[in-house]
Amino acid sequence: MDLLRFDAPPVSPEAEALRQEVRTFLRAELKPGLSRDRSGTLGGFNPEFSRKVGARGWLGMTYPKQYGGHERSMLERYVVLEEMLAAGAPINAHYVADRQSGPLLLRFGNEDQKHEVVPRIARGECYFCIGMSEPDSGSDLASVRTRAVETNGGWRVNGTKIWTSYAERSHYMILFCRSADADPKDRQAGFTQFLVDMKTPGLTINPIRNLAGDTNFNEVLFQDMLLPDSAVIGKAGNAWKQLTSELALERSGPDRFLAGFKLFRTLVGQLGPDPGERARLELGRHAAHMMVLRRMSRSVAAMLQQGQDPALQGAMVKDLGTTLEQSLPDMVRQLAPVEGDPEAEDELAAALADVTQNAPSYSIRGGTREILRSTIARGLGLRQ
């Protein structure tokens, strides 16, 4: 069955040499121990760090050189990314832009958008947020109500986006909205994606405090926001198709099983060299699952490189990976005498609290577990 193909990732001495370069860089840049910037589970939002990563040529790695990219392989990008995640590096500022907004603009954007924005993404200077979810539209994206209406040479937008991570610190949003009346025969028709400058008049950001106490989660209001026609990404009305390729990139990455790695690392450290038979088994199980997920994820990267569409394999990686990561707090509770405390000096207590509180989001953001399973079921031919 094609969806069970996880071909061997190619052996790449260049990628392995790059890996050691990245490690040297991270040793110099990161303080030992936990990042205390508790803004999300990926290790924090740090523009200074992002610019340094950009200066090393490690953003926009797969983009064409004419747009500031480096024309390296998906596997080389993968190596950089997994090293950053495993080290708990603060990649949140550039991560969304590098992973999906840049590729979207390169694929569908106009020349102005590509020349103006993409090189800044590759330099680590330009950050993106995702404008998909709305108060009444989560998994059912076709029900979005934010509406763009054509006016004189442009568009007038009204509506609300929500759960928008880092809206307050992003330069742009990729806005997904309705641009034509709903067609009862084609639910996927009539949507357009826009490149929205977050400083556009008529755009308001309201923070929402999440359960972990962070406020990088937002509501974004559009009140008669005017956009020029040049803000359309790709073709008006074609957004659904454009989105599909964006989601494949969003789902298959190593962040889907490395979000809680800092907790695993801290646990291993505290248990020490002789943790006992039970801990050896449990730690070994967790590591083994991660090793197999890594193999799956690297295969997906290799398949993307070859121009294949491993959307189903990507959905498997995310479902298995987030399920594993959500089990991590329970493993810690069973192996170590520790109670979660977000403000504790003790790194294990702090990391446990952090992952415990953020874990519910793993299987919601970027496609809920239920949507992923339906995607896989569709791939199996069980549904339309």
Binding site: F261, L283, G284, M290, R373, G381, L382
Partner: protein, 349 residues
């Protein structure tokens, strides 16, 4: 995957489709040797894939296909025996072969007597022992040195046993003389034999899970209840998606072992892959049965030929309890920054 492998896979798949059916399973479970199937495999060069020029990873791919069809023949064991002999410089014999010992802690003794050797001891759970023409035995001399001895099956007493799929798992009692040419020093230890066994069972688990998934999806598309195919119900769809993910994880694990195998195998990769595949076998078999309802509980319906193998293969050559602590031991005691490089085999040279 290159064209040669794809061609080989097509040939193998066709051959198994043609030769493995209900009657063959019934006879095999009754203890008969599926001579026609083996002959067809031998004629196609598939019983000695390494001799036929396939790489070890390609040969592992072949085992995966054989397992998809639940082919009741010792292809994996023959491959392992041939590989051991080739690595020890003993001429590879023809016919079905197997290996011993396969249970940890069992040892067979070897000593020089006259012009030749004498092999003695007992090995349990030897796969396909009764049907093998020869057995590659790992045996120790008094000084503890490991040797490989090529034992003709007829030189051993055999007590029949089986696994949950009624594949032969026999006890071998040996007390026999062997000629000089049948014994050679073994350049690797018990752990390498165990890793090879774990690797081949990992590939087989991946194949059997793929089969269980295919059967489940087909059945869910055909079986109508409450006026529609049960595969239209979201609860069933999501369970089958979970089965697909487990099968996917096993397929990735099979890929890992294929690359990890050599005379100095990557034990960490194999340990992780076999533990994970064994877990997938348990979870996947349970979902496949639930999706099938009562029909899957019958012997006639082919699901059990996959799942009864999964229930044995998950334990043979070590299950989660054996392999996961080995991975845990590699991780434990590292500096935090060293855990990831150790897990991924990417420590700086």
């Amino acid at each position: 995957m290159n064209d040669v492998t794809r061609m080989l896979e097509d040939t193998a798949a066709r051959l198994f489709s043609d030769h493995v059916d209900r009657a063959v399973h019934a006879a095999a479970e009754a203890g008969e040797w599926p001579a026609a199937l083996w002959q067809a495999l031998e004629d196609s060069g598939l019983t000695q894939p390494l001799e036929a020029g396939l790489s070890l990873p390609e040969a592992m791919g072949l085992l995966q296909i054989a397992a998809q069809h639940a082919a009741p023949v010792p292809l994996a064991e023959t491959l392992c025996a041939a590989w051991m002999m080739a690595n020890c410089g003993i001429e590879v014999s023809t016919g079905p072969m197997t290996i011993a010992p396969v249970v940890r802690g069992e040892t067979l003794r070897l000593e020089r007597r006259g012009d030749g050797w004498h092999l003695a001891g007992r090995a349990t759970r030897v796969p396909w022992g009764r049907h093998a023409t020869s057995i590659a035995v790992l045996a120790e001399t008094d000084d503890g040195a490991l040797h490989v001895a090529l034992l003709p099956r007829d030189a051993a007493a055999i007590i029949h046993g089986g696994n949950t799929a009624l594949e032969p798992r026999d006890t071998l009692i040996v007390d026999t003389a062997l000629p000089v040419g049948a014994v050679a020093r073994c350049p690797f230890g018990y752990d390498v034999l165990r890793a090879f066994g774990a690797a081949m069972r990992t590939a087989q688990i991946a194949g059997a899970l793929e089969r269980a998934l295919e059967l489940s999806v087909t059945y869910a598309g055909q079986r109508v209840q409450f006026g529609r195919a049960i595969g239209k119900f979201q609860a069933i769809q999501h369970n089958l998606a979970l089965l697909a993910s487990q099968a996917g994880a096993a397929a990735a694990a099979a890929g890992m072992v294929a690359e990890a195998l050599s005379a100095t195998p990557d034990m960490l990769m194999i340990a992780a892959a076999k533990g994970r595949a064994s877990e997938a076998a348990s979870a996947g078999a349970a979902i496949a049965h639930q999706a099938h309802g009562a029909i899957g509980f019958t012997w006639e319906y082919p699901l059990n030929w996959a799942t009864r193998r999964l229930w044995s293969w998950r334990d043979e050559f070590g299950n989660e309890t054996e392999w996961y602590p080995l991975v845990g031991a590699v991780v434990a005691g590292r500096e935090p920054a060293g855990i990831w490089p150790a897990m991924t085999g990417t420590e700086a040279a």
